[in-house]
Symmetry: C2
Subunit: 642 residues, 2 copies
């Protein structure tokens, strides 16, 4: 029985900014990743992911190779393919996906089990190390892919395969079975998706079991470890905080441990809270949301500041040059934000989601879709990445592929499904969270409604919407006024609205009787902002970041020369925004006069009594997401202020 | 045959600042370390160092325990004892030292070999891993101790023991023997000391052999490794730069690798350059000196900015919060500076030596001599040391002892021998490098001369010297004018000197006929300086450090509250120096008005458009060396400037 139905608008993206990226995913990333999964790329670590399935299916001989979670690369690729097919039908691509699904079917056990690592390498050891070995994580990704593929194509085969797998897992885990849960959360949110499309309660209940069981005493990971005869202390300070299993989830107040695991779990918690009306789970989500976004999030929406454990460190600890800020973690933050919006329409959730989408997620891929960042630093000095041991994880340029290839397929599936993040809806209202060009069919108040958005966002805050219900109908369109906006105006059918009293939690609730081709014109003022950080963040004291609309800016060496920290932005410096269609596929650049320490005025001294020798220079900032698309070099987000 | 005799003044320290520290060494550190070496300390990792010698001597049964270089702790203790006896005869202490020397004698092999690790644990493996196993390093420390003990007591036994050991090593290594050299340099400088007291050329030649052989191809460490059957890549990027063996020493232009090894080697290079008039070695020293002091040295004279390899990282890479800056490395820098002064009297060498002595070396010990820093950071946030993995080596409070206990005995021997760093001499001149109270007998121009210095340095730049030759004699007293001094005046016998034309390389050469009780009054203006760093040091851009005379200041949480980076020192703020006799055994504190970001004006926002909300506060700075002698808390050296 479903307690709350989540309706899903059918969105087609027409937006220049996002359409371009979706094309890159379709034309570049998906084919490239397909080659990677099949080990057809020269000069790249082999993936072996498809071959693992072939071996598991008994169609090839050989050994399992790759990460214990290698299967998930195939799953995420399939999921991205599904989203891409939804926006852009492509028979050839769909045929390839069908073949992969057939292969998966042949590799799947009689009992529904599907994991190439265990099937090939340790067939007798299933479920003996769910803390480390990503069995349930891979299952979750396969389930997500199956749901997406079913929605995109209507084909049920993959979905049924994964229901069989989920059914089997339900016989292994649960009150009557293993009272364990995954070391890397993921299946929890996937099971909710499976529940959403099948309506089968047992998937929701299994997800809830995993979430509720987590962190209870006696601790399952300890029991499991003892059963394995493992006597080593766990490498992460011997602390289950690494996988957010240090406490029952409702008692967790601070984000700790591996950032991707954390946000995947919080996503599932929010999913369960909305579907089961679980107030305690909702409160836990809100508390953790506040902690992450008010104390542990970079301005790019990067999270997880520490390389050790790919983890959160502690409140207000946000160093720019040794950050971890994994692409996948910001992607997970988008997932979570969307679920929080489904629980409650509050602009803070959409603001963070937007911040992640336009900054710390898409920075993970170059403009051509050929190279990827795993780590998205906010300050880079290439020499330090090479020579300073603590910065070895910070790469000054994107790489073509990774041995641990979680990020590239994750960003592919995010971008391909960007349409899922624009709207949410309740019985009688449609919430517009993001502004980007799209044509959407949605059912509100029992009406089929066509919505179109046209905008040049994120470069311009002008958004035109048309709202066309089949027949006249009364319902609410709730428009988000971004948290960064100093001013916004709304016209409905050309008439200026005084919306002051209609605003709640950052949304303007426009309730009226809508008729065919009603228009809304939203104009959000996009001013250039100098953003400062809470002074408890030591790394950013005395510095500002430049932001315009949702876009966070950075300075690159290619525009500003070496030693970027020697640039000081005076408080009264005038900054100018200019759209440059030839730069980086078209971006608004920000320029202004700044002061710069005159290096030439220094001799060989390392230290000297202070005196000021500064020149006036022109500073040029580009969007952070687009950095490192020209030459390798230094980059900073936080600029010294004078 | 000696090519150049290095004369050594006989110095007795009377200085308040240093005498106090020497008393702490004598009354606290030496007894404490003696207990440590004998495993009599509760709650402390056992040292086992004395017991290792007892086992090696066949007087106890048991296994070797501790670091492979555990013997050196005993050696450094004996050396410190010797220096202490020189300034403060102490029969009881001397008896203990004699007993230790007797024990060492019993542990020494027939052939002269003395190393407890190999004797007890791997008797057949001598000299099979000189890259890693510190055999020659320990030998060097024992030789240094023997020389010091001989000079302090006149007893020759220990010296003879170590000559036997050196003689034996000379039969193993050399053109006709193993063409190898130590992984951790130390014996090179020790052999020069042995040469200086014995006049035996073969010790000088063996030292020269080790230095000249280093880094040659085919590479000895590779040959040795192959002989051991070791096929692993060397952990430090598989690079001999770790131990400065990547190139022949004369071709080395940049300081690389393990900082302590580096400066011990540079010390020996300078020693050899002066004793063999080796110009190429002198030039190599000068090049390396410039690199270290102009590109890789903290303002505290801390060196080695990277925990990985306890190593130099690269030019201008001087982060304050993850620095390594090992106490031993700054001590080694003092050794090296002294040798450079023996090659050439130039104030830069003395300036750096003084910077190290008053800052980054003595910071390694608390005022009571009970606790020690291995790492001397320039910025500490205790929570980060605990929770941020890259900072785990930075301890927010000093520790009582270390498993790797190199630093405490090293600082003991430095302080106990502080008198060795005040003067150098040439045939006809006495150079005064450091200002501190002392009574000294020195032979210049064939005359026995009594020198006294009285001063309240480092708190006051007024220094009174008396110069009393036995009979009237013409010679030069060369007084250093510190690089930090803006102005200094000199009176000889009460008469103001216009010394402008007598200055060379920062020394005022006063040549005259001196007679009994001639007086020199030197007054060096000690202004409070705001020091800035070459802007290529990214970490310090926009910041200043406070320095007065040789003392570098810092801000501590106990005086200034939490979140020290939120304090901004205005450029025009008046700073006041006040001597506080009750604080930290008497220090000059520096206070002034500063601005501080008002944390209360921030709500829960992490980011917001920039606006200024600053309060005026009183800032209080204390000498860096004395930090962490009250409560644990934050500390910074580099203060934001406005």
């Amino acid at each position: 029985m479903k307690t709350k139905e989540i309706k899903r608008p059918k969105v087609t993206i027409t937006d220049k900014f996002w359409k371009e990226r979706m094309e890159v995913i379709r034309n570049q990333v998906l084919p490239y990743q397909w080659d990677a999964l099949n080990d057809r790329l020269p000069d790249t670590e082999p993936s072996h992911a498809i071959e693992n399935f072939q071996i598991a299916a008994g169609e090839k001989t050989g050994e399992f190779y790759g990460m214990v979670f290698q299967d998930s690369d195939v799953a995420k690729w399939l999921e991205a393919v599904a989203y891409s097919l939804e926006n852009n039908p492509d028979e050839n691509l769909e045929n390839i996906a069908d073949e992969v699904i057939d292969l998966l079917e042949r590799a799947q056990g009689e009992d529904g089990y599907l994991n190439t690592y265990y099937t090939v390498k340790e067939p007798d050891k299933r479920w003996t190390n769910v803390r480390d070995n990503h069995e349930l994580y891979c299952a979750g990704h396969l389930m997500e892919a199956a749901v997406a593929y079913y929605k995109a194509t209507g084909k049920e085969k993959f979905l049924h395969m994964m229901c069989r797998y989920a059914d089997y897992i339900g016989t292994v885990f649960g009150e009557e079975g293993i009272k364990g849960y995954p070391g890397h959360q993921e299946i929890e949110l996937a099971l909710v998706k499976l529940y959403d499309v099948t309506g089968n309660d047992k998937y929701l209940n299994l997800s809830k079991f995993f979430i509720d069981e987590r962190g209870k005493l006696p601790h399952y990971f300890e029991l499991e470890k003892e059963n394995r005869g493992d006597t080593q202390p766990f490498w992460f300070h011997n602390d289950h905080a690494y996988s957010q299993a240090h406490l029952p989830v409702r008692e967790q107040k601070e984000a700790v441990g591996h950032a991707v695991r954390a946000v995947y779990m919080y996503t599932a918690m929010a999913d369960l809270a909305s579907r089961t009306n679980d107030e305690s789970l909702k409160r836990a989500c809100e508390t953790l949301w506040e902690n992450v976004t008010q104390k542990q999030m970079y301005i790019t929406a990067g999270i997880g500041s520490m390389e050790f454990g790919e983890a959160f460190s502690f409140d207000y600890d946000l160093p720019n040059d040794i950050s971890y800020t994994e692409t996948c973690a910001s992607i997970g933050l988008v997932f979570w934000a969307k679920r929080m919006l489904e629980l409650q329409a509050h602009h803070t959730y959409a603001d963070v989601m937007e911040r992640a989408l336009y900054n710390g997620t898409i920075s993970g891929m170059d403009l051509s879709g050929k190279k990827f960042f795993y780590v998205n630093p906010l300050e880079v000095q290439p020499e330090a990445c090479e020579k300073r041991h603590e910065k070895k994880h910070v790469k000054p340029v994107r790489k073509t592929w990774f041995g641990c290839a979680c990020c590239p397929p994750n960003i592919a599936r995010l971008i391909a499904s960007i349409g899922e993040y624009i709207y949410t809806q309740s019985e009688n209202a449609l919430f517009v969270h993001l502004y980007m060009g799209n044509q959407t069919k949605v059912n509100v108040a029992g009406q089929q409604i066509d919505i179109t958005q046209q905008t040049n966002y994120p470069w311009d805050g002008s958004v035109s919407l048309t709202v066309s219900p089949e027949t006249e109908a009364n319902f609410t369109i709730a428009l988000r006024i971004p948290g960064w906006a100093r001013h916004a105006s709304i016209k409905v059918n050309g008439e200026v609205m005084d919306y002051g009293e209609l605003v709640k939690d950052g949304y303007v609730y426009i309730n009226r009787t809508w008729k065919e081709m009603d228009s809304i014109q939203l104009d959000i003022e996009m001013t250039i902002e100098r953003i400062q950080t809470n002074p408890l963040v030591r790394a950013n004291i005395g510095k500002v970041a430049i932001q315009r609309g949702p876009i966070v800016y950075c300075l690159e060496e290619v525009d500003n020369g070496k030693n970027l920290p020697s640039i000081f932005l005076p408080r009264d410096a005038e900054l100018t925004a200019t759209y440059d269609e030839h730069l980086l596929n078209g971006v608004v650049v920000i320029t202004g006069k700044a002061e710069r320490i005159n290096q030439n005025a220094w001799g060989s001294d390392l230290y000297r009594p202070a005196r000021q020798t500064r020149d006036i220079v022109t500073m040029k900032a580009i969007p952070y997401y687009a950095w490192c698309n020209r030459e390798a070099g230094e980059m900073i987000v936080w600029v010294n202020e004078r």
